[in-house]
């Protein structure tokens, strides 16, 4: 757990820290050359063993962008892993986040067990697979 966050990853880790979650960067596994290389372990309370978690920062606030980035990040984590999508830079709305997750569910598309989406106003919305 001695990895380093990039600037974008650090911004997400800081927001999760505000929720009281402990976030540790994972060391990069160069043998896999990023093919599956999630960047953090997140523990939501001291008893939590932690979940491998993948971050993505959006460059577009459209629901399709949320959809794409959840799919891409979800392929990086194990079955019980989680993803965090940061939409603050693009003023992501809850409506677009909701639509993206609804479409992923409707088509039973690739998605992590949980996706935490940071909206433009900084609020975090959590979506659970199969809910």
């Amino acid at each position: 757990m001695d990895g380093k966050f990039s600037e974008k990853e650090r911004a997400i880790a800081d927001r999760l820290h505000e929720e009281g979650w402990r976030v540790d960067a994972r060391r990069q596994d160069d043998s896999k050359e990023h093919m599956k290389n999630p960047e953090s372990m997140v523990r939501k309370d001291p008893a939590d063993e932690g979940l491998i978690t993948e971050y993505k920062t959006l460059n577009s606030g459209e629901s399709k962008a949320v959809n794409r980035n959840i799919k891409k990040a979800s392929k990086q984590v194990p079955e019980d892993g989680e993803v965090v999508i940061d939409g603050r830079n693009v003023n992501l709305t809850k409506e677009n986040a909701d639509k993206a997750w609804a479409d992923l569910e409707r088509y039973d598309d690739t998605r992590a067990a949980k996706a935490h989406v940071i909206l433009g106003n900084g609020e975090i919305v959590t979506y659970v697979r199969g809910d």
């Binding site: 896999k32 050359e33 460059n59």
Partner: protein
């Protein structure tokens, strides 16, 4: 995940075919440990052209295609069945430059194949259309429908 560059190809070949072509074109080697990869993900690597470092590539089917796009939900990448993800590391500017060199090599080597160069899945950098050449998009152009007026004539429908 770290930002990646993406080249989308409108090719009728399989991901494996495209990986073979890319490997031969750029003199790449397979990524040694691809144990976590999906069945049709093909990992390659090779030396970067402008810095001392290793450039990684994953060639796979484009599963980001809209399955049933409603009006106003089209993406520029919807008609491009193959994607090549490219990464170098933490230096985003160098990574983008390296990806651009790969894109230019592909355009030169595969003049009949339409292709798009994107940054981190969301932003459209350049498009190539056979017979028309390469078009550069203004910074911040997304692959999403609100920017379709900027890309529709350069994206193969």
């Amino acid at each position: 995940m770290a930002d990646q560059e993406n080249i989308f190809l409108q090719s009728s070949g399989t991901a494996e075919d495209e990986a073979t072509l890319l490997r031969d074109l750029l003199g790449l080697e397979p990524i040694p440990d691809s144990s976590g990869a999906d069945a049709d993900e093909h990992g390659l690597r090779g030396p970067a052209a402008t810095v001392d470092g290793v450039l990684g590539f994953v060639i796979q089917p484009n599963d980001l295609v809209s399955q049933d796009p409603a009006p106003g939900e089209a993406q520029a990448i919807d008609k491009y069945p193959i994607v090549i993800d490219i990464w170098l590391g933490r230096d985003e500017a160098v990574q983008m430059k390296e990806a651009r060199l790969v894109f230019d090599r592909l355009v030169e080597a595969r003049p009949d194949v339409p292709m798009l160069l994107c940054h981190d899945l969301d932003l459209l950098v350049a498009a190539y259309r056979p017979g028309r050449g390469v078009h550069e998009f203004p910074a911040g152009t997304t692959i999403d429908a609100p920017d379709a007026d900027k890309w529709s004539e350069w994206v193969e429908g």
